[in-house]
């Protein structure tokens, strides 16, 4: 059965690394639902968070093929409930949304969103949360006329602690 899995991949920070990782999905005809790349807690080591919907067996094979890449330090897969995760969404609305006095302030407050900025013509609202939450806010803001909308990929941290970088130590000289 296809299910949502989140992959955490730790790599050296080399040019082209992301390509090396993503072609493994391409080869197996797997669609990437979301992807985030950033530095990890260790300098020089990058971390990708990739969300896919797949069957467990397929996910396991992909993770092994990713981990096999020379510059990949570690790769894991998780079911959603093993993770703490967030996404961030930005909504751009016309300033008239405030003037209309239709309770946009209440919507922002009730949804734990915040008003990032008000420009001459536009205002920008930010919300962090799970996809369903940012989607819900999208629906609520729709009547005000959303000029632009963007949602980030997922960032996720495991609930359990593991030493990601033990591999760096156990690699022996050969």
């Amino acid at each position: 059965m296809k299910q949502e899995y989140t992959l955490s991949i730790f790599t050296e920070n080399h040019i082209g690394m992301l390509h090396r990782v993503t072609i493994i999905f391409t080869r197996r005809h797997i669609n990437i639902e979301s992807i985030t790349a950033s530095q990890s807690e260790v300098e020089g080591i990058h971390r990708y968070t990739i969300v896919i919907r797949e069957e467990l067996e397929q996910v396991q094979k992909v993770v092994k093929q990713i981990e096999k890449q020379v510059d990949v330090i570690r790769a894991h897969y998780h079911k959603t409930d093993e993770l703490i995760y967030q996404e961030i969404a930005l909504y751009k609305l016309s300033v008239s949304a405030i003037r209309d006095g239709l309770g946009i302030e209440t919507i922002i407050r009730e949804n734990n969103a915040r008003l990032l900025t008000i420009e001459k013509d536009h205002l920008i609202i930010e919300k962090t949360g799970h996809k369903e939450e940012t989607a819900e806010l999208f629906e609520k803001l729709k009547p005000f006329g959303i000029v632009e909308f963007v949602r980030s990929g997922r960032v996720a941290i495991m609930k359990d602690t593991v030493n990601e970088f033990e591999k760096l130590e156990y690699n022996e000289e050969v």
């Binding site: 790599t11 050296e12 920070n13 080399h14 040019i15 082209g16 390509h19 090396r20 072609i23 080869r27 020089g44 396991q60 094979k61 092994k64 093929q65 981990e67 096999k68 020379v70 510059d71 990949v72 330090i73 591999k167 760096l168 156990y170 690699n171 022996e172 000289e173 050969v174």
Partner: protein, 590 residues
Amino acid sequence: MKGSEFSSAGNLKGTYSFPDNFNPELNKPAKVSGAEAIIKSLLMEGVETIFGYPGGAIMPVYDALYDYRDKVNHVLTRHEQGAVHAAQGYARASGKVGVCFATSGPGATNLITGIADAFIDSTPLVCITGQVGSFLLGTDAFQETDVVGISMPVTKWNYQVTNAEEIPTAIANAFYIAKSGRPGPVVIDITKDAQFSEFVYYYQSAKKIRSYQPKPKLNIEQVKAAATLINKSEKPLVLFGQGVSLSGADTEFRKFIEKTGIPAAWTLLGISSLPTTHPLNVGMLGMHGNYGPNKLTNEADLIIAIGMRFDDRVTGDLKRYATNAKIIHIEIDDAEIDKNVKTDVAVHADAKEALTSLVNFVDKKNHEKWLSSFNTLYDEEFDQVISKEIKPDAGKLRMAEVVKKLSEKTPDDTIVVTDVGQHQMVTARYFEHSGKSLSITSGGLGTMGFCLPASMGAKIGSTDKSVLAIIGDGGFQMTIQELATIAQYKIGIKIVVLNNQFLGMVRQWQELFFESRYSFTEMTNPDFVKIADGFGIPGRRLDQREHLDSSIDEMLSTEGPYFLEVMVEQEDNVFPMVPTGASVSEIRLS
């Protein structure tokens, strides 16, 4: 010497130490160009031969090479595909890393087929490609292609150097990665400005890369679990692949099967690890393999797969594969474990280490009755297929009888290289391996055109061995230009073209599965003997059975390269055969 952690220019990191063959003269810190640094680094890695083809973006390297002609041998092939296949043949015959050079753009793209071939067949290569100047990258400059991008899916590792100071580290890592663990090809793409610019050169070979673990630690619990299954099994079957020879485990492998008395069957690339006549050798697996091992795969109660990857040509329909068996998989590459066939016990380790340990835990046994069931099926195969192939009463020559004869007449330690198609399967089936011989063929990719250049590389990598190239008339024409290289460097290989005037293997499929609709598989060929002669290679055409012996004798007694064209039965089929989609036990004898 002890390694030290340091970070060189750029972002390559690793622990480095002096190479075993540390040559202080070569490695005196001195100001050199990037191009010269490339050559010096190759020498530091012990490279003796480079196969290559020059062009604009790699000219500084060729210029630097000019001063090192007495230290390293460069073979100018006639096409970059020839260079890369030659490097593959060289690597597989010598056990060393094959090295090739090509220029940017078309030079580099011409390497890709060979790189993909080396990737799927785990052959260690370091391919160095020139690239346009770093300031031109991404601008569609003349002969610019994204070589790193193009080669990424088919390399174990690749790296683009834009700064001369990165060259020693990049090359050190390239060799280390190519040859360690499960070997594979590496591409280092070096911009022209990096080749020109000067820096203070100093080389340290790589012994470790922090993100890379080439050899998993042997887990003794896995070994014991495997032994338990083996000791309990009544009908065990060993399947072995190239992993055995790659890990240098031929001896340990033989000890293991001899102690346990387990029948052993081979994949196309495992072939030469066990003599053909060994009593436990029950033949080839897969599509055109032997009757016994295919049929009995579904009777075995235990499969012990060693250094093989359950390719679909070996397994047939996976749903109906090894239906009664538990599976042990001894494999160095974790990504191969459970990829195609679910294992009961995985031994994630180097084959040699695993077998060295495993042999201590297994009981001495023999499986006479089980083994004799393979022999019974072999006899059936012999009567229905083999006898007619190797001793036809009339008609044109058959591929099998030619191969059989070549096998009898060539020395025990011959390196036999094949291309792709019917002749390849026939050679795998009928060429007898002595334990000292070696087979080189394009297995995973099935690359037509592989054989001719690979055999020249094999000969250069193993000059004291005789090298026999067996090729189809189709594949021969894919890299026929390398006859010029063979002639120029007097590479003493014996070339046999089995000419059926068809793309034989495709024609066979058309006959069997497409109602004999021979859609574009018939060829009107040129006069090959004349062509060879034009290149300066002596040869002859053979179409009569009574001249088979004498022609082969003439070929083998001729000094240097020789070309023998054998006109064979045009519409011969290779049997047995497991049709695509069928289960291995549905193997057909006709």
